[in-house]
């Protein structure tokens, strides 16, 4: 082939754009919807079968079948209102704690990424945060900070901070050496390097951290509520109450709805992750 000078891009057959946008985004939908639904149906069926076939009539209240749980936990207006109100209190605490954990965690990670001594001096304590037995700390927080909203939020922050810190720090440090060279070449300030290079590059890893933290925050909120036994009751307290009353239907409803909230939070972050990945040209 004879290449002329000033060759326009269009004539070079080897340089066609590689990626095509698919207009129909649900190409993989059948398996992504069917597979989980199939598992759901199987689990419910196994549950119903165990309850009806394995547990004797007299002790069936220990493992009530799904239809009983729906009837007494969800369809009964009294129980439903009780559970949803408590759940809403729990969710508010969890979301507030998660938001604070995200802000604090990213802040800590940024500081740790900027100076080695900050990383070396802070990181061990970030790990301690993760390994500390939260069950032992919850009563202490009750003594120190009371049993209301703020104290519960502190518990949530404590259990959800670590994934934010580690993932953000990992992301900030994952920048390719050549990209750092590029910013060095053009005399970027420390802030420019952080804001225009490290943080955008870290975004996917950060969101993975938020996904883990979301679930942790909800568990933290429930645990705090469960052990405080004072203050505005959340779903943790209701679970305790139902346990004492042997109200297994309500107990299971509370449990399932709590997991559902965690799942929704996870999905929300997953959606965000998808957007960021597209922005980074990964999907």
């Amino acid at each position: 082939m004879t290449a002329t000078l000033e060759t326009p891009v269009e004539t070079t057959g080897t340089e066609a754009p590689q990626r095509k946008r698919t207009l129909w985004p649900f190409k993989t939908a059948p398996i992504r919807v069917f597979a989980p639904v199939a598992v759901f149906v199987l689990v419910i069926a196994a549950w119903a079968a165990s309850s009806h076939l394995l547990v004797p009539e007299a002790s069936r209240f220990l493992l009530p079948p799904p239809e009983a749980v729906i009837a007494e936990g969800l369809l009964d207006p009294m129980a439903r209102n009780e559970i949803l109100t408590a759940l809403w209190n729990t969710v508010q605490v969890a979301l507030c704690g998660l938001a604070i954990a995200i802000v604090l965690g990213v802040l800590f990670a940024v500081v740790m990424s900027q100076t080695r001594w900050a990383e070396f001096s802070l990181y061990p304590y970030a790990v301690v945060l993760q390994t500390i037995p939260i069950l032992a700390v919850v009563p202490l927080f009750g003594f120190w900070f009371g049993y209301e909203f703020g104290s519960r939020v502190i518990v949530c922050v404590m259990v959800s901070l670590f994934p934010v810190i580690t993932n953000t720090l990992f992301g900030l440090k994952s920048v390719a050496p050549a990209e750092h060279d590029l910013f060095t070449l053009h005399g970027a300030t420390r802030f420019q390097r952080l804001w225009k290079l490290q943080l955008p590059a870290a975004l996917p890893a950060m969101i993975s951290g938020f996904k883990i933290s979301g679930g942790q925050a909800i568990i933290g909120s429930i645990v705090a509520d469960f052990f405080f036994r004072q203050g505005v009751p959340g779903i943790g307290r209701m679970i305790d109450v139902y346990r004492q009353r042997l109200a297994t239907e309500e107990l299971l409803t509370a449990l399932l709805l709590s997991s559902l909230v965690g799942l929704c939070l996870f999905w929300a972050f997953d959606l965000l992750a998808g957007r960021v990945d597209r922005m980074h040209g990964k999907r």
Binding site: M1, T2, A3, L5, E6, T7, P8, V9, T12, T14, E15, A16, P17, Q18, R19, A176, A178, E179, D181, L182, F183, T184, L185, H186, G187, A188, Q192, K196, L197, P200, A201, L203, M279, H280, G281, K282
Partner: protein, 250 residues
């Protein structure tokens, strides 16, 4: 040769902290209007010379003089930020330097047009082919209005046809702007086609083994590659390269 060199290595040596001797007593001057290719065995310190010139590394002995503030650098990979469009990638240097938005947009548009990427301003790097990504990378360097233009083995990952196209286009930029060019490559034909001089380095630590002038006029026709004169020169560079390799092994 009365013009001041844009880049000068003066007895330059570099020994890394781990004791590896990368370069040993390099003396080399590159003047505006010169295009110097650096070839040599892997790990001989070719890229390290560019990294010294760009200020990414500091010489442990001797000096590296860069006599211009207009430095263009093209990396081995296109090194485009994946979350930025082509236009936003190309205007990054000006953005970091605090150039007002309208002005840097304009400069970026010009540079994109010069590398033949007009119409792809809004594309993200992931939507471009390897060759187009490299064009964008060259456009980004062009916004610096380079008087010293450093290329760190930029076309190694491209297919042969794309590579030859880009060779010609960098040649065109050189003819038009008359910058001082330094081009690191593994390919002997590429080094001969691109340059006014081919410098052959020995293996680690890098020393200059040969400095071979390339007399062909610019602009160079791609067919030049298939002329006997070109083949002879390529053979000469190859021989020097083999000698350098044996010296390194000995």
């Amino acid at each position: 040769m009365s013009i001041d060199p844009a880049l000068a290595f003066r007895g330059t040596s570099l020994t890394f902290a781990n004791g590896t001797r990368a370069l040993d007593g390099i003396d080399l001057e590159v003047r505006p209007g010169e295009f110097v290719s650096l070839v040599g065995p892997s790990g001989c310190g070719k890229s390290t010379m560019l990294r010294l010139a760009a200020g990414f590394e500091t010489a442990t002995a001797g000096a590296v003089d860069v006599n211009t503030g207009h430095l263009g650098y093209v990396f081995q990979e296109a090194t485009l930020l994946p979350w930025r469009t082509v236009a936003r990638n190309v205007e990054l240097p000006a953005e970091l330097a605090g150039v007002p938005k309208a002005e840097r947009r304009e400069a970026a548009r010009d540079a994109i047009e010069r590398v033949g990427l007009a119409g792809f301003e809004k594309h993200r790097p992931s939507q471009l082919s390897g060759g187009m990504r490299m064009r964008a990378s060259i456009a980004r360097a062009l916004t610096m209005k380079p008087e010293l233009f450093l290329f760190d083995e930029p076309f190694g990952a491209l297919d042969e046809i794309t590579r030859q196209h880009l060779n010609s286009e960098v040649g065109n930029l050189f003819v038009r702007d008359g910058f001082a060019g330094v081009f690191v490559t593994h390919s002997v034909p590429e080094s001969v086609f691109m340059s006014t001089r081919v410098v052959v380095l020995t293996g680690r630590p890098g020393q200059i083994a040969a400095d071979i002038p390339v007399p062909f006029d610019f602009p160079r026709d791609p067919e030049l590659r298939y002329t006997p004169a070109f083949a002879n020169l390529a053979a000469e560079v190859s021989a020097a390269l083999r000698g350098a390799k044996q010296e390194a092994a000995a």
